[in-house]
């Protein structure tokens, strides 16, 4: 149903950052838990996530497994009210896309998704349910290993405090917690 070839992208990603080195038991544990979201909702989540954070010279949201991470957060972290609100906010994007374009969001071309979501994002920026959903998706990406280490820069043990370093157009932001 969706155009995103997850397997292909994950293989590419694994080569890029050594995902295959993730502990097997962690992967197995994650795989054992059933998904919360059904297939169409998962496809919508993947399409929305990857429209927010597309693949560029670095991995996009789907390659960083944002859909699976968010599924896990909705299942294991969110309370029932917030879970329902997040899912409703996600489905509201699809409803609006159908109304405007006549097609489900996930079936639009990447360019059409971006055009639609850019307008929707502007209109809904002060809508708390939408804002929280976007925050969840974007945060899931930048806290992932590819988001933190391939797109941004993360040092678990910086070892030093350098209060003034040059800032150029190539300087990447620091990932992780407590970085400003």
């Amino acid at each position: 149903m969706i155009e995103l070839d997850r397997r292909h992208m994950l293989e590419g990603l694994a080569a890029l950052i050594g995902l295959s080195a993730l502990p097997a038991d962690a992967l197995a544990a994650a795989a054992r838990k059933p998904s919360l979201l059904d297939a169409p909702t998962t496809a919508l989540l993947a399409a929305v996530s990857d429209t927010f954070i597309p693949r560029t010279d670095t991995p996009g949201a789907v390659q960083a497994k944002v859909p699976a991470t968010v599924d896990g957060l909705l299942r294991d972290w969110a309370n029932p009210a917030h879970r329902a609100a997040h899912i409703a906010a996600l489905k509201a994007i699809d409803t609006a896309a159908r109304a405007k374009t006549g097609k489900p969001f996930a079936l639009l071309t990447p360019a059409a998704r971006k055009t639609f979501l850019t307008g929707y994002d502007l209109e809904n920026f002060s809508n708390p349910d939408y804002y929280k959903l976007k925050d969840l998706l974007v945060t899931a990406y930048y806290m992932s290993e590819p988001g933190a280490t391939v797109e941004l820069r993360y040092e678990h043990v910086p070892g030093a405090w350098e209060p003034s370093i040059p800032l150029t157009k190539d300087t990447r932001a620091w990932a992780g917690h407590n970085v400003g």
Binding site: F52, K114, L152, E155, G180
Partner: protein, 561 residues
């Protein structure tokens, strides 16, 4: 029979135990919580993507088990093991008068999760009550504390700078953690526009350059990770686990018993002196009594008041050491909550590493006499850094490659300031024992009644007003401001429930932290504080603990207690 029993293994108890053991006293430390191990119990190895549920504690767990603790900034899945379950450790508050009691029951207590800001109280603070008549006069002055501040700072290791300010005395410091270029700019702007205000680098209990006595204890330099609240396997900040308890242990004089909830301090009806401590094992609920010549109560401000009230007996119907009726009263915290954030122009530079410390603006109001329409004053903690990825991501609309590009680059300079104000002592702000409700160990629940007074609320308003003026003077454009006072307790600087004073009729402890009523009982945690200052108080608790331990040892050796 021990020479000394120390109740509590946190910031104060750890320091008391270290001193007593080093003075050659056979010392028993009682900790109500479970045993945890330095290093082995910590989660500081977890990378962002390793954190269970992304670092957020499941919301239903927060609602059920941590409705109070969740208000603390440091609660996440990497630190969850350190916070009490409110569901298991309830307390009463009056309707519409919340008090946020943030705590952890485990070896080392809150010394594991503390904010590590480390400041001396000044002569102005120790004479504050005498000056305006609120509370009773402190029976000590700065000169009494100075040598103990020296000793404790040297032992724990404090990064900072001597700034030459009377209201924030200099100390024994390791190299300072330097300011960012944005902070230097902010400092220049504030000091130029506001006479008498200083922006200094925060002083924190981190080893920027470990000394031989730190290295001997296995402590290492700060790695600038800012994962501190998880516990630091490098032992780079002072905690009971990294520093004071290892120093106590190596003397051979320390005995440590965990899972031991204090039921009461036992006294001899003939002499009135403490003879020991009765505890309940938190798991088996079995009772045990330990005997000692001297007792140090370091169970935390509220916990220590609780123990004294629980220790009521025929001779002391209102609770132990409470002939003054001041035990449990004068509960204070710092006025906390009002804050601002602003975007600021600044140099084209960045920073590397996560500095676990910020800038500090020491108190500048009512320094040389009463010059303002309100009493006492306030200081600020803050920082000026480039906005991190999350703020950049969520601060404006954006989708796709444009959003990704925006987040990729460090954000604008952001200044954040948060005030800490001095709360006045008020005898009506107090903890008492519930008349009806008990916990699962059969001990009465606490009732905490605490609210901000008019002066406290006024400080909150002034904190916000001044913060806005300072960031604006530095060219800041305010993007967020909060005028809300957090409930008392959430500053996590609670103090005052067994105050020191000259007069046994109006205070619980004398100038040596010794109970007026019970000569071999010392209370050396935040309970002893006669006024609150506006500085982070842990250093003062540790200095009082060390000072009292040395005094108690002299009395024991002289045979007078």
């Amino acid at each position: 029979m021990f020479d000394a029993i120390v109740i509590g293994s946190g910031m104060s108890g750890g320091m008391a135990a270290k001193e007593l053991c080093e003075l050659g006293l056979k010392t028993l430390v009682l900790e109500r919580g479970r045993k945890i191990e330095h290093g082995a119990s910590y989660n500081d190895w977890m990378q962002p993507w390793d954190l269970p549920t992304g670092g957020g504690v499941p919301e239903e767990v927060l609602e059920k088990d941590y409705p109070i603790q969740r208000q603390c900034y440091a609660v996440n899945t990497a630190t969850q093991q350190y916070w009490v379950k409110d569901s298991q450790h309830p307390y009463e508050t009056p309707e519409n008068k919340p008090f946020s009691w943030i705590r952890g029951y485990h070896l080392g207590g809150r010394s594991i999760m503390w904010g590590r800001q480390t400041y001396r109280y000044s002569e102005m603070d120790f004479s504050a009550n005498a000056r305006d008549g609120h509370g009773v006069d402190w029976p000590i002055r700065y000169a009494d504390m100075a040598p103990w501040y020296d000793k404790v700072e040297t032992f724990i290791g404090v990064s900072g700078e001597n700034d030459g300010l009377a209201q924030l005395p200099d100390g024994k410091f390791l190299p300072v953690m330097p300011m960012t270029d944005g902070e230097k700019l902010f400092k220049t702007a504030v000091e130029k526009n506001f006479a008498g205000r200083k922006v200094i680098m925060g002083r924190c209990a981190h080893l920027t350059q470990p000394q031989p006595h730190h290295i001997e204890l296995g402590r290492n330099p700060c790695q600038y990770r800012s994962l501190c609240e998880r516990g630091c396997s490098f032992g780079a900040y002072h905690s009971s686990l990294s520093s004071s308890l290892p120093a106590a242990t190596r003397t051979g004089n320390l005995t440590l018993v965990t899972d031991a909830i204090v039921h009461s301090i036992i006294t001899d009806p003939k002499t009135g002196k403490a003879t020991g401590v009765r505890v309940i094992d938190q798991n088996t609920k079995k009772g045990t009594t330990y005997e000692a010549k001297v007792v140090f109560l370091c169970a935390s401000t509220i916990g220590s008041a609780q123990v004294l009230l629980q220790s009521a007996n025929e001779a002391n119907p209102r609770g132990l050491a409470n002939s003054s009726d001041q035990v449990g009263r004068n509960l204070m915290d710092h006025v906390y909550g009002p804050s601002v954030m602003a975007v600021m122009d600044g140099p084209e530079t960045f920073h590397r590493g996560r500095r676990p410390n910020g800038i500090y603006i020491p108190r500048y109001r009512n320094l040389d006499g009463q010059t303002e329409p309100y009493l006492r004053g306030y200081g600020y903690q803050g920082r000026v850094m480039r906005q991190g990825w999350h703020g950049v991501a969520m601060g404006a609309p954006g989708v796709g490659t444009e959003l990704k590009d925006r987040i990729r680059h460090p954000g604008a300079w952001m200044v954040g300031l948060s005030g800490f104000g001095e709360m006045l002592p008020n005898p009506e702000n107090r903890v008492t024992l519930s008349a009806t409700r008990k916990d699962e160990w059969g001990l009465p629940l606490l009732n905490i009644h605490c609210e901000h007074g008019e002066n406290d609320k006024e400080l909150g308003r002034r904190i916000l007003e001044d913060a806005k003026a300072m960031v604006t003077a530095a060219g800041g454009r305010i993007i967020k401001e909060s005028s809300k006072l957090h409930p008392p307790g959430l500053g996590i600087h609670e103090m005052g429930t067994a105050r020191m004073g000259h007069d046994p009729k109006t205070s619980v402890l004398n100038k040596h932290n010794q109970a007026h009523d019970v000569p071999n009982l010392f209370v050396t945690d935040g309970a002893a504080m006669t006024s609150s200052g506006c500085q982070n108080p842990s250093l003062t608790y540790m200095a009082m603990s060390a000072r009292a331990a040395n005094y108690a040892s002299e009395l024991l050796k002289a045979g007078t207690i």
